[in-house]
């Protein structure tokens, strides 16, 4: 399923809404999640999962081609943990 198919499903179920409003609604949801994480916040959607930000410490990496040491700076990466309900549903419980 891709974004446009998700939008279409919601639009089909809500014939009273304009397609462009459904697009804005779906886009707003994903946009809000990215915004929250870029502020360092968590987004917890019970039953579905939680989006959070993890810190990766700085480390000494190596250029795999030359074997040369390079300093890799600390960085922040997005992380998703599946919710219990969805995990159970995936396994037919």
């Amino acid at each position: 399923m891709i974004r446009s198919e998700l939008i279409q499903k919601i639009a089909d179920e809500n014939p009273h809404l304009y397609q462009r409003d459904v697009e804005r609604i779906v886009n707003t949801i994903f946009e809000e999640i990215i915004d929250a994480m870029s502020r360092g916040d968590r987004v917890e959607l019970r039953g579905f999962g939680a989006f959070s930000v993890k810190k990766r410490d700085s480390r000494t990496g190596r250029n795999p081609r030359t074997g040369e040491s390079v300093e890799v700076e600390e960085k922040f990466v997005p992380f998703f943990k599946t919710g219990k309900l969805l995990r159970d549903r995936l396994n037919g419980k």
Binding site: D21, R24, L45, R87
Partner: protein, 100 residues
């Protein structure tokens, strides 16, 4: 960094502000989006949201695990797990926003 936790309520509040719908209907729509994504994943589909990320379901084989506290061996049954791969845009925005 004082991290807050957002919930469905914050997402429906954002929808409410963005589109002129009632709070109630905004909340229902947020729920519907999550429900459709969950249903697709449960049916084994990959959910690919451009400029957000990709959710995919992977099959894990059975293996022998160990209770780390007691050292006891326990069988881990084959299972399906969900993985999320963030888009470049998400990675870049999260990295930029949390820097320094």
């Amino acid at each position: 960094m004082t991290a807050k936790t957002l919930t469905r309520m914050d997402l429906s509040e954002a929808v409410f502000r963005e589109v002129g719908l009632s709070r109630n209907e905004s909340a229902t729509l947020v729920e519907d989006v999550l429900q459709h994504m969950s249903d697709a994943l449960v049916s084994g589909e990959t959910v690919k949201i451009s400029s957000f990320g990709t959710f995919s379901v992977r099959d894990k084989a059975a293996r022998v695990g160990r209770n780390p506290k007691t050292g006891e061996e326990v069988p881990i049954h084959p299972r399906r797990v969900l993985t999320f791969r963030p888009s470049h845009l998400m990675k870049d925005r999260v990295a930029a926003g949390n820097k320094g």
